[in-house]
Symmetry: C2
Subunit: 313 residues, 2 copies
C-alpha cells in the first residue's frame, strides 16, 4: 500500500491526512492504521499535563529544542484547547513554535476533537500510533491537567510529566485526588515565584507520603522557569532517565495493564457512540424515557433494562 | 417500608445512610431508591461549576443564606475534591458552613466518590434523588468546572451556573469549548478585580456570539464579590427567574433529552464497571492483550473484537 509506505517514510502530508481521517474515525483510516500498527512501538511517549496557564506550551517548546540538540526526531500532539499553541494567545510561543514547525524532524498536530466523556478522544491513540509509525523517536502529548486526563494519558504515555506552579494552591490540593500515583516527573514551573520553596517542600512531602516503600521510581521534582529556559535540560534528562528505568524494570504485568487501559479507553468511547445511536429520538427506548420522565421508573432500573438488551452481561 | 417513609419525612440519619449505600451502589440501596423515585421530581436542581479557586464555595454559602431567607429548604451536594468545604482549607467558609449545618432545613452531603470516567460519579443522580424525596426544594450541586463536568451536570441540573473570575484568562478561553452552550447563568466572581470590566465585556460578547437567534433564554452575567456577599441576591433571583422560565417553556422534547442524557450517564458508568471485570487479569481477553502488546493487533481492531462479544451491536 503506497499510502502506508508514505507514512512509514515520514511523509507529512500523508500523515496529516490520515490523522484527520482518524479524528473522524473513518473506516478506511482505521484500516490504514491496522497496517501501520506492526510498525509502531518504537517511540517514547511523554504526557505533559497541567492546568491552563501552568506553562506547558513554553516547557514543551523548550523540550523540543533540548531533544533536537540531541538529534532526536519528535512528534507533538496538542490537546489543550486553551493552549497558546492552539489559540495563538502567546505570540512569543507561536514564533518559537513556528521555528520548530519549519524543522522537518518535528511534526506538530493539534486536535480539538475531544471525546464526549471528557477524556482523551477516541482519536488520540491512533494519532500517536501514526507519529510512532512515522519514526518519531519522542512523542509529546500535551493535555489539560485538571480532571481525568492524566488517568487516561497514563495508558498511552510511558512517562507522565505533571506541570504545577507555586501559585496554584488549589491545584496542589487536587493532586491528592489520584494524580500523584500516576506521575513520573513533576515540573515545578515559575520556580522564581516567592512561594516556590514552600510549594517545592509541599510537593516533595506529598510525593513521599503517596509512595509505596518498594517503589522502584520516585518522581523527581524539577524546578523550571520555562520563560527563561531554566531547568529544561534537567527535565529532558529526567525523561531520558525514566525511559531507561522502564527499559530495565518494566514487567509483562505492567505492559498488560497498559494495554488493558488503552483497550478500556477505546471501548468506552465506542460504547458511548453506540449509546448516542441507541438513545436517539424515536428509538426503541422512547417509552422507557417517557416512563423515566413520569417518575414511573428510576434511572438505575432503566439503565439495567437497556444494558440487558445491549450487552450479554 | 419504614426506611422509605423515614426519608420522605426528611430523616437526616436515614438519608445519610442511604446515600452512603448509593455511593457503594449496594443493591438494597438501589432498591430503596426505586421506591423513593415516584416521590421525586419536585426539587429545582442547580449546578454550580467552576475551576478550583473561582469562589464556588463562598458563592454557595451566600446562596444558602439567600434562599433560607425566602424560607426554602435546601440540599447541597459537594463534588469538588479541592473545595474548601471538603478540605477545610478556608476556615471562614467552614465556620459559615457549620452555621448552615446546624440549620435542619439545609442538608449537606459531600462525596469524593467520582466515576472512573472523570464525570459525575454513578452515585450522583441517586443522591440528588434522595434529597429530592426528602422534600428539599432547591438542590445545589457543586462541581469542578474544568473539563467535562458541566456537560454531565447538564443532564441532572435544571439551572447551570458557571463561576468564572477575571484572573482566569485561560478559563475564559476554555469556555469556547462547549461550555457556553450549556450555561444558563454566569457568575463573574471577584468582580472588584482590575480586569473585571474587560472580562465582563469578553464574556458577554462570547455569549452573544454563541447564541442562536431564536434562543428563548440568554444567559445573564452576574457580577459577584462572594467574600463581600455582593451580587448574591441577584444571582439567587436569576436562578428563580430561570426556574420560572423553564416552567413556562420547557418542551417534552427537552424533558426527553434530559432523561436520555441521564440514562447515558449511568449506562456509561455501568459499562465501565463491566469492563473492569471483563478486562481484569487472566480474563478471556488475556491473549488479545498479549497480541496488542506484541503489536500484532491494533487497539481499535482489538476493541472491535471485545465489543462484538460484549454487545449485540
Amino acid at each position: 500500500m503506497a499510502f502506508v509506505s508514505d507514512i512509514l517514510a515520514g511523509d507529512i502530508r500523508a500523515a496529516g491526512r490520515l490523522m484527520r481521517g482518524i479524528d473522524m474515525q473513518l473506516p478506511e483510516s482505521l484500516e490504514t492504521l491496522t497496517h501501520l500498527y506492526p510498525h509502531t512501538g518504537r517511540a517514547h511517549i511523554v504526557g505533559v499535563s497541567g492546568s491552563p496557564g501552568a506553562g506547558k506550551s513554553t516547557l514543551i517548546t523548550g523540550l523540543i529544542s533540548a531533544f533536537r540538540e540531541q538529534g532526536k526526531t519528535l512528534g507533538i500532539l496538542l490537546l489543550d484547547p486553551t493552549s497558546p499553541f492552539s489559540t495563538g494567545a502567546i505570540l512569543g510561543d507561536r514564533v518559537r513554535m513556528q521555528t520548530h514547525a519549519l524543522d522537518k524532524n518535528v511534526f506538530i498536530h493539534s486536535t480539538a476533537t475531544r471525546g464526549n466523556t471528557g477524556g482523551l478522544s477516541l482519536a488520540v491513540p491512533g494519532i500517536v500510533a501514526v507519529m510512532d509509525a512515522m519514526g518519531k523517536e519522542i512523542i509529546i502529548v500535551e493535555t489539560v491537567g485538571a480532571g481525568q486526563d492524566e488517568v487516561d494519558i497514563r495508558h498511552l504515555a510511558h512517562t507522565n510529566v505533571i506541570v504545577v506552579t507555586p501559585t496554584m494552591g488549589d491545584d496542589m490540593q487536587a493532586l491528592k485526588a489520584g494524580i500523584l500515583e500516576t506521575a513520573h516527573i513533576f515540573a515545578l514551573n515559575q520556580s522564581d515565584h516567592a512561594d516556590a520553596e514552600t510549594a517545592h517542600h509541599l510537593l516533595k512531602a506529598m510525593i513521599q507520603l503517596s509512595q509505596k516503600d518498594d517503589a522502584a521510581w520516585r518522581p523527581p521534582v524539577i524546578k523550571t522557569i520555562a520563560v527563561h529556559h531554566q531547568g529544561i535540560s534537567e527535565l529532558a534528562e529526567q525523561i531520558a532517565h525514566h525511559k531507561h528505568h522502564l527499559e530495565k524494570v518494566e514487567s509483562p504485568k505492567q505492559t498488560s495493564d497498559h494495554m488493558q487501559g488503552l483497550l478500556a479507553l477505546i471501548l468506552r468511547e465506542r460504547f458511548m457512540d453506540t449509546l448516542r445511536v441507541e438513545l436517539s429520538e424515536n428509538s426503541r427506548w422512547k417509552k422507557l424515557l417517557e416512563r423515566m420522565a413520569q417518575r414511573k421508573i428510576d434511572p438505575y432500573a432503566a439503565a439495567e433494562k437497556v444494558l440487558k438488551q445491549l450487552t450479554h452481561t
